[in-house]
Amino acid sequence: MTITIAIVEDLDEVREGLNQFIELDPAFKVIKSFSNGEEAAETLPLIKPDIVVMDINLPGMSGIDCIRKVKPQCPSIQFMMFTVYENDEKVFDALKAEATSHLLKKTDPATIVESLKELYNGGSPMSANIARKLVSSFYHENEILPAGPARLSVRESEIVQLLSQGLLYKEIAENLHISTGTVRQHIHKIYEKLHVQNRTEAINKMFGR
């Protein structure tokens, strides 16, 4: 079954380029491309793609607001944030607002496609830098994680520790004698758990903003 993709990007060359690269891989089908957030917010719930590649810097409604509108209506849609810079404040806001992954625009097409596959298969592709900051910011807001499904396992806590020291995925993998892929899967779980934990507070913040 093909993975359905939608693209929301206002720069023509980027949007059309992305379209072409993704469609090169038979696993994917780009069902719709949008050049602004308003149209996307209206139409995405109707076409329900598997993954949406969402630019943050849109002319009218921002990418973040678009996600906030669409995600509640269709929680199954995965959002991959697409930005020029990594150290953007907006990246955080987006990831906290339920985007599950992040990609830099300067990534080469092959890697873009790889990351989309990873996202579809349950990963949370994002750079170690971003993951580190995300995790530590979640930690700051929730000092103690409760018991139950949101609690981190021993391995996950180890990874959070190494991540907060600034280690890259490859280094974490070497350190714990596991594969980079496993590290990424753990990051995804950690991210989800922290997100669940954070959800109630985040929801009000999200909608309030």
Partner: protein
């Protein structure tokens, strides 16, 4: 016994009780008389005014009045002794205590309240002075902040516009590569376009990072720098071993320091890749009484004699470190060791 008391040459009648005289009434004359059956002119009197600093009794004389002029404020007791000639009667003494009151400006109460008032006044003035100083300081700070904010806003706008443009270029070049896949003639140039665009985006990203206030702790600086080091070196097939302290403090680092440290590291690594012919680098961060980053490669070492080629870069490092009151040291030992040191606190 006392027969008469004059104050400033005026009669004072109430001398049966201890006297209280104001400081102006400080010229006193006392007249005494001893009751006796003998000729009173032969009675000899002597006095001792206690409180006036006199130690001894005066020489007995028949003068029966005593003048005291300009008595200072204080407690006095006037003792008068009457000696009778021939020892017929034992001597008699009378004592008359009196007080010359201090003028109001000399009293303890006044002095205390004066001290209190002066202390309060000086406290008030000091407070006002510091308040106005602080206010001026605050205004200056606000101005600086406003300028910073405006700078950041301008920079952010620039970054967004430049970033968008560069992304277009990148994607165009990737599209060209796709379309012209069979035409080798243009591939190299097209790849260069893409590479330069990526490089520009990266540089912009670094500026954004240095400006972004959120990335302002030492931990962030270390994380960002090591991440760059590992990435850059592995992209050039050089192994990178990183050692950082496990406890990364959240001390603040200002924008200029962040930038200079990062760019010095970048320059140092660039030299390793371009000139050292090394296969691995040990990247160490140390936090003792100073902040230190050590880049140790296993290459062929710096040819100091032939240094013109990349002298600019090393000079840049020196200058950058100097600007933030730090220093750089080069050591040749199993390759080259570049040590960047900045004193704490940053």
């Amino acid at each position: 016994m006392l027969t008469k008391v004059e104050v400033n040459n005026q009669g004072f009648d109430h001398f049966t009780l201890p006297g209280k005289f104001s400081y102006k009434n400080n010229n006193l004359t006392f007249s005494v008389a001893a009751a006796s059956f003998i000729d009173e002119k032969q009675v000899k009197y002597s006095y001792l005014l206690k409180g006036a600093g006199n130690r001894g009794w005066s020489i007995p004389s028949t003068t029966s009045n005593f003048n005291f002029l300009n008595l200072l404020p204080g407690n006095y007791i006037l003792h008068v002794k009457a000696d009778f000639p021939g020892g017929l009667y034992p001597s008699q003494t009378i004592s008359y205590p009196f007080v010359i009151l201090s003028p109001w400006w000399q009293t303890l109460w006044f002095r205390l309240s004066l001290i209190v008032v002066l202390t309060v006044l000086s406290a008030m003035f000091t407070r006002l002075y510091f308040r106005s100083k602080m206010k001026k300081h605050l205004i200056a700070l606000e101005k600086i902040q406003a300028i910073e904010k405006e700078r950041t806003r301008i920079a952010t706008d620039m970054h967004d516009d430049l970033g968008a443009g560069l992304s277009r270029i990148k994607f165009l070049s990737e599209t060209i590569k796709l379309k012209g896949a069979r035409d080798d003639g243009i591939t190299k140039e097209v790849e260069k376009i893409a590479a330069y665009s990526d490089e520009m985006v990266e540089k912009m990203g670094e500026i954004v990072w240095a400006l972004n206030e959120k990335n302002d702790t030492l931990a962030d600086l270390i994380a960002y720098t090591r991440s760059y080091a590992v990435d850059y070196l592995s992209n050039n097939n050089i192994n990178c071993d990183v050692h950082t302290p496990t406890d990364l403090p959240s001390t603040f680092v200002d924008g200029e320091t962040r930038r200079n440290i990062f760019l010095s590291v970048k320059e140092g690594l660039h030299n390793v890749v371009k000139h050292a012919e090394a296969t691995s680098v040990v990247f160490t961060v140390q936090l003792t009484h100073e902040f230190q980053i050590i880049i140790h490669d296993n290459g062929k070492g710096i040819d100091w004699a032939n240094i013109r080629k990349f002298s600019n870069g090393l000079e840049n490092i020196r200058k950058r470190m100097h600007d933030i009151k730090g220093k750089v040291a080069f050591e040749q030992r199993n390759g080259t060791k570049i040590a960047l040191t900045v004193p704490l606190p940053l």
